[in-house]
């Protein structure tokens, strides 16, 4: 494993730009569970770094922008290791500019874009082109995955070492599983040379077949072909065994089922180098939402049972699930305004992730705020990136949140080019007001921006 590098060294508009002007957040309630910080401070940001956490009200405003953050929370900014930016090939759904803006609006200081684009990102030239585009367009640092197999065909390995040299952030065939155990085994062995983390979409296509939703009571009532939980958990067990055998490391994408959490827990117990993620929608919703056959609730893996959701929440709390990832998957209306079985799979998630989990898990007392704050950015370390921190001396990657703000998801539109959220119309509590990346303000919420002007 290579040494962790700063998130701001990923590609974005700020990568070669001078750090932003000095910034002062007065009387903010700062929470950074990894650094053991939970107190009210004046936060001083200078030259792209957090230079001080002072006693509240003690820092003089020496020409810096000063924000009254009384009653607001400051956390390490979030990091999402799993988003679809749809570039190249499907820019009508999302592009790097709109997707990274959505990330900034959600409080993210960095995202990793998966590689199932059109065409898929499977050569060094593809990676270099995307990196250059991100330096021109991205509001927050963006890393780019490349494929594990050429054209995501599942048969031939990509030039993994060359991709690493070109600056790929990791390898994944997300959207599809690596069906062949033989091919995956070779990729894992080759990781000794290439070094890159391998992120796996776990699904046995023999079992999920033409399924459109979770297999259970609701699919039985609707007559929809089901995707059983075991289609995911059996593949995780297989791939954890392969990783163990090859002494490789893997990251499991979007866990959805109890059996999957158990498979990861068993692998971790056995010492396998395995990390994994869960999405806000799997942590907040169940297959009951599909009863209305609303295609807004169609995604892969599917929303599962309440028992599965409980297992995901417990797994997130216990640390079996390392981090939250959105699997932000934009689609234009014409791919969703069709019968459920024909609709595209996927939902956008960057702009609502924190608020949804805060509302559904933290406010009702299901999960500690400190745990959520940790899991919202912990994915960075699985990809050899420094974890965001608000401890003095850290790169200034932080998010300012109004924990009590009530708002309706989607009521003021979206920064994303697509609107396929499964939370549209939902009342949420807790809102990102400002996102700071490498000391520069990447996002200000509209009313909040007006308030300080």
């Amino acid at each position: 494993m290579s040494d962790a590098r700063p998130i701001s060294s990923l590609d974005w508009r700020g990568v070669d730009a001078p750090p932003g002007p000095e910034l002062l957040l007065r009387r903010a309630s700062v929470l950074d569970p990894r650094a053991g910080i939970d107190a009210v401070h004046d936060v001083v940001i200078r030259d792209g770094r957090i230079t001080g956490l002072a006693e509240p009200g003690t820092v003089e405003n020496g020409g810096a922008e000063s924000i009254d953050a009384e009653g607001m929370r400051v956390f390490p900014a979030f990091f999402d290791p799993h988003v679809h930016l749809r570039t190249p090939g499907d820019e009508g759904a999302e592009d790097i500019e709109t997707g990274s803006r959505a990330a900034a609006a959600g409080g993210y200081c960095g995202v990793l874009a998966v590689a199932n684009t059109k065409p898929p990102v499977d050569g060094a030239a593809d990676v270099l082109a995307l990196r250059e585009q991100a330096r021109a367009e991205a509001s927050v640092p963006v890393g780019f995955f490349a494929c594990i197999t050429r054209g995501m065909g599942g048969e031939e390995l990509t030039e993994m070492a060359d991709l690493a040299a070109a600056g790929a952030a990791g390898l994944t065939d997300d959207g599809l599983p690596v069906r062949s155990a033989r091919v995956l085994r070779r990729a894992l062995r080759y990781q000794r040379l290439a070094g890159l983390q391998i992120a796996l979409h776990e699904e046995d296509p023999e079992l999920s077949a033409d399924g459109a939703m979770h297999e259970g009571t609701v699919s039985a009532a609707l007559g929809l072909a089901g995707i059983p939980s075991v289609s995911e958990s059996t593949m995780i067990a297989r791939d954890a065994a392969l990783a163990r055998h090859e002494e490789a490391r893997i990251h499991v994408l979007h866990l959805s089922a109890r059996g999957s959490v158990e498979a990861v827990a068993a692998a971790k117990e056995a010492g396998v180098r395995i990390t994994c993620e869960a999405t806000p929608h799997h942590l907040a919703l169940t297959d009951e939402e599909v009863r209305t056959l609303d295609s807004a609730f169609k995604m892969n893996p599917p929303l599962r049972s309440e028992d599965d959701r409980e297992a995901l929440i417990d797994g997130l709390r216990a640390g079996t699930i390392d981090c939250v990832a959105t699997d932000h998957a934009p689609h234009p209306p014409e791919r969703k305004e069709v019968p459920f079985e024909q609709a595209a799979m996927g939902v956008i998630g960057l702009e609502t992730a924190f608020a949804v989990l805060h509302t559904e898990l933290v406010v009702p007392g299901r999960l500690g705020l400190d745990v959520l704050v940790d899991r919202m950015s912990a994915g960075a370390s699985a990809f050899d990136l420094e974890l965001p921190s608000v401890a003095p001396g850290s790169e200034a990657n932080l998010v300012l949140v109004d924990p009590d703000a009530a708002w309706e998801a989607g009521a003021q539109g979206w920064e994303s080019r697509s609107e396929n959220s499964c939370f549209t119309g939902r009342e949420l509590r807790g809102r990102v007001l400002m996102t700071v990346v490498g000391g520069r303000v990447a996002y200000r919420q509209r009313q909040f921006a007006m308030g300080v002007a």
Binding site: E215, L222, G223, P339
Partner: protein, 327 residues
């Protein structure tokens, strides 16, 4: 009188809705015995039949039902239409709605298609089968058929036998029979019974016909030959051995139903299809009057629907305030 606006699922219906529709069907039964089999109930109304799947009896009976009520009918089939050229359901519905139909009857291979159509038109919508989800007019005609033969269904035991997994008829019928007070058991190969079906439909599950003797009614489902190659069942032979309804399994006081078309010699043996216990032919007859009653319920049963323009932003413009009057 309140009438339902659309017929999308059995699940949306209340028992009084079913009673009202079936009473109306009784009154239409008499029309079929007249020399001129027609009433003017829906004269001047337009009904579009939009069929994305091939169908004989459902499309024919909806068309004939509309004609007997003196409505104007346009039937659109997927083949030979703009649907074949890749037009989306939304665009097709909005285009057809521009002709102002009062009702759209839709058959689709996809669950939820009929409900979606209601979002794109002001017309009343009838679900004539959506994927493997529901087929409410079939369930209503089956309840009608049974009640004509045996009276109330309260306390009766009905077994639905066969490929429940792929059957919209099984889902709608189980819900309808239960609503009318019957006890429902679904029976079939374990691979063709969806996990969770007990809770989903409120029925019992059996994997063998051993206890079929307790049933008042045996409702057999169509067994498609593709299921063998998809390894749901090992062979036709093994299926018929375990699940075929024949004279040996069907008792003299048990009634037999089937939604059609029948695979003779597969789910049913020839001797029971045409036997005295068989209601299969009656089901087809009932289909016509029940579908007349459904169209009447939606188009003339309550307030007159507005007529089916495509939904647009100008659909609900307020009347202008006359000049000189206080606004």
């Amino acid at each position: 009188m309140t009438a339902i606006r659309h017929l999308l699922t059995v699940e949306q219906l209340e028992r009084p809705d079913v009673e009202r529709i079936l009473e109306r069907a009784e009154s239409f039964a008499e029309v079929g015995r007249r020399d001129i089999k027609k009433v003017p109930a829906l004269r001047g109304r337009t009904i579009v039949n939009l069929f994305y799947e091939s169908s004989t009896r459902t499309s024919a009976s909806f068309e004939l039902a509309a004609k007997r009520l003196s409505a104007d009918v346009v039937s659109v089939k997927a083949s030979g239409s703009s649907i074949e050229k890749g037009e989306s359901l939304k665009d097709t519905v909005q285009t057809l709605s521009a002709y102002g139909p009062e009702a759209i009857v839709i058959r689709s291979p996809y669950a939820g298609a009929a409900e979606l159509v209601t979002r794109w038109t002001d017309a009343a919508v009838v679900n004539a089968g959506d994927g493997k989800h529901e087929h409410p007019s079939q369930a209503l005609l089956d309840v009608y058929t049974l009640r004509r033969r045996i009276g109330a269904l309260d306390g009766r035991s009905i077994w639905i036998v066969g490929d429940v997994l792929h059957s919209r008829v099984a889902r709608s019928c189980a819900l309808a029979f239960r609503m009318m007070g019957a006890r429902v058991t679904v029976c079939g190969p374990p691979t063709l019974i969806p996990p969770g079906v007990e809770d989903a439909l409120g029925c019992e599950v059996a994997y063998r016909l051993d206890d079929l003797g307790g049933a008042d009614v045996v409702y057999a489902l169509r067994m498609q030959r593709e299921r063998m190659s998809e390894s749901f069942v090992p062979s036709l032979r093994e299926y018929t051995l375990h699940y075929q309804i024949d004279a040996r399994r069907l008792g003299p006081r048990q009634l037999l139903m089937h939604p059609g078309p029948v695979n003779r010699g597969v789910e049913l043996a020839a001797e029971v299809i045409d036997g005295p216990s068989s209601l299969i032919a009656t089901q087809v007859e009932s289909g016509l009057v029940v579908r007349m009653a459904i169209l009447y319920e939606l188009l003339a049963g309550g307030e007159r629907p507005r007529g089916g323009r495509a939904r647009g932003p100008d659909a609900e413009l307020p009347a202008p305030t006359p000049i000189g009057e206080p606004a």
